[in-house]
């Protein structure tokens, strides 16, 4: 018994090493989301295309949508854009949240790069961004037909991320399986 007790420090050390080793694989910039499982926050904001008209969460009620936070000043959004175009072509409904951007520049961006969005929320001051807990574009939320946020991705959605984090859940919610090519 006493001889076994001598191994306690060693085993504690082994456990600690294992925990720290697993910690190495975690991305420290990835924050746990407070909003997964919660309803998408209510909002009423101007649309990007038409400053006169207001859009609200009712505009995508009863539908499974991706809400994508983007801006023209966001470099990674450039890389992500082709993926969004490809998903939209396959029938995925994507709502844009144009975050702390300039209206003109954002409109031009959509003309030049294609417009994958059903519509865009123009969040000039980032207030909806704060309600969503946005801390950097791009971010993508999967919202189900009940308006509940089911998944959140901070960073670019590409083929790898779509397959690992979105595809199965999207299939479960809609019954369709959009795919992304290797270049997207």
């Amino acid at each position: 018994m006493n001889r076994l007790a001598l191994f306690i420090p060693l085993s504690l050390f082994a456990v600690l090493t294992l925990i720290l080793l697993l910690g190495l694989d975690k991305d420290p910039t990835e924050l746990p989301s407070a909003l997964v499982g919660e309803p998408f926050p209510a909002f009423a904001m101007p649309s990007l295309q038409d400053p006169e008209s207001l859009v609200t969460q009712q505009d995508f009620a009863d539908q499974v949508v991706l809400v994508n936070v983007w801006a023209t000043w966001c470099f990674a959004c450039r890389i992500e854009h082709p993926s969004l175009n490809a998903l939209a072509e396959q029938g995925v409904k994507i709502i844009g949240l144009n975050y702390k951007d300039q209206r003109k520049a954002a409109q031009l961006w959509l003309l030049e790069r294609g417009n994958p969005y059903s519509f865009n929320i123009y969040d000039e001051l980032g207030s909806l961004g704060i309600d969503l807990g946005v801390y950097g574009a791009p971010e993508t939320y999967l919202v189900d037909a009940q308006g509940i946020i089911r998944h959140r991705r901070v960073g670019v959605v590409d083929k790898r991320v779509w397959e690992a984090e979105f595809a199965a859940l999207y299939q479960e919610l809609t019954g369709t399986t959009p795919v992304l090519g290797a270049t997207q």
Partner: protein, 161 residues
Amino acid sequence: MKLLLFLMLVLQSQLLLANAEVVEFSDESLRPRYQQLIEELRCPKCQNQSLADSNSPISNDLRAQVQRLLEEDLSDQQIKDYLVARYSDFILYRPEVNQTTWLLWGSPLVFVLLGLLVVYRLYFKQRPSESQSHSQSQNSDQISPEDQQRLDSLLTDREPK
């Protein structure tokens, strides 16, 4: 002339510094609370800085939001709850005790208890064996009569005359 120019430049630069960040409150009593809150809240983007230290755009926005909420007469706890609901416990430098953080808060206590246990084992558990060896040495203290005589003679020799 040069002195005047120098003075003007020096004063000008101080004006610019003072303008770096001016936060206006309707009630000055909010300022210490604001200062304490932004030092206790963590910038979600820059990880190892508080909102007070960070210059990132999101920290600017969140500072402004904290100020707005203070003006709206929310308590410190309500403001923290507001931000935790959006940014998770991560935003707090002193996370509250809950399901995910009890281990974090509890571990120092566990380690202190473990340490006490080790001390107890090292110190108190050795006493029986120690007293055992003590009694053994007492046995060996009983010296033979010849030795005792020798010792007595030595001691008397040494006594001052």
